[in-house]
Symmetry: C2
Subunit: 174 residues, 2 copies
C-alpha cells in the first residue's frame, strides 16, 4: 500500500462521491502517518463521538457542514426513521450530541455498504428495547463479514490495478 498520501487536505472536494468526507477527515486525524489505522481505539471512538468544542445543539445546516451530508439527505434520513431530531419553537430541527452521534453512526454503516433497509432495521431494534440485542448483534456480525469481504475484494482490485499500472500500455484483456 504505497504512497498516494493525499492526507494533508482536510476536506477533499468529492462530496458527491463520498458524503462522509468530513467524517473521513476526522478519521484521518487519528490515523497514523503511513495510512494504517488503529483497529479499535479510544481516540477513534472519541472522534466518532465528535469534538467536544461543538455547540450543544446544531441546526441542520451546521450538521450538513460538519458531516458533509446534505441537508436534503439529512431530512430524508429523518423521514425514513433513521435519525430523530428535536424541534425549536418555530419548527426547525435541532440536533443534539446524541442525534449527531446517530448521524455519524448511520453514515459509517452506509459507508460500509449496509443497505438503508438494514440500517433502518437496526435502528428499529434499538428503539424496541434491550430484548432485541441478539438480533442487533446478528446484524452487526453480518455487516462485519460483509466489510471483511469488501476489503478482500478491494485488495484484489488494488492488485489488479497496480499490475495494470506497472505494466501499463498493455491491452485491455487480463
Amino acid at each position: 500500500m504505497t504512497a498516494v498520501s493525499t492526507a494533508p487536505e482536510a476536506f477533499p472536494g468529492d462530496l458527491q462521491v463520498h458524503p462522509a468526507a468530513r467524517l473521513r477527515s476526522i478519521l484521518d486525524s487519528v490515523a497514523a502517518e503511513d495510512g494504517s489505522l488503529p483497529p479499535l481505539n479510544d481516540e477513534l471512538i472519541r472522534a466518532l463521538r465528535l469534538p467536544d468544542d461543538l455547540p450543544e445543539t446544531l441546526g441542520i445546516g451546521e450538521v450538513a457542514e460538519i458531516t458533509g451530508i446534505t441537508a436534503h439527505t439529512l431530512r430524508y434520513y429523518e423521514r425514513i426513521g433513521l435519525v430523530d431530531t428535536g424541534r425549536d419553537a418555530s419548527g426547525r430541527r435541532i440536533y443534539d450530541r446524541e442525534a449527531l452521534g446517530r448521524v455519524a453512526f448511520v453514515t459509517w454503516l452506509r459507508l460500509s455498504g449496509m443497505p438503508i433497509a438494514a440500517v433502518s432495521r437496526y435502528v428499529e431494534l434499538v428503539k424496541a428495547g434491550p430484548q432485541t440485542q441478539d438480533e442487533r448483534l446478528g446484524l452487526l456480525l453480518d455487516q462485519r463479514a460483509a466489510i471483511v469481504a469488501q476489503l478482500r475484494d478491494l485488495q484484489g482490485a488494488l492488485a489488479v490495478v497496480d499490475y495494470k499500472i506497472t505494466t501499463y500500455g498493455g491491452s485491455c484483456g487480463a
Copy 2:
C-alpha cells in the same frame, strides 16, 4: 483484522450482492491462510488470466457460471461496449481467452467501485490505440486513489462496527 475466516466455502451464495463471487474464489485460491493477500504477484495475475484447463472457447452460459455474472449482464456489458465477443455460425456469442480476460478485468474494476462510464472510457482508449496510454494511466491512478480511499473508509467502518459488537447492547447513538 481478526477471524471471520469463511474461507473454506469456495462459492458463497451471495451472487446477488457480489456477482464476482467466483472471481473472488479464484483470488482466494492464491490468498494466504490468514486471509492476507499478496499485493501483486505472478500467481494472482495468472489467476486473473483464468485457469489453463478451460476450453479454448466458451458460450455465454459457461462464462456466466465461471464468473458469477449473469448472462443478462454479460449481454448488457457487450451492448454498452465493455466487452466484445465473436459469434458462431448460428449467431451465438463465443468467448475466447481474451474475452474472458476482459470480462474478468472489467469485473475487477466494477468491484472496485469504478463507474461503468469510466470503465467504458478506459476500454474506448484501449481500442483507440497506444497514443492514449497517458490518459489510461491517469484513469488507473485515479481509480487506485479511489480504492485506497475506500479501503480507509472500510477500515474505519470496521472499527466502528467492532466497537459496537464488543460493547453491544448500547444505544444507537455513537
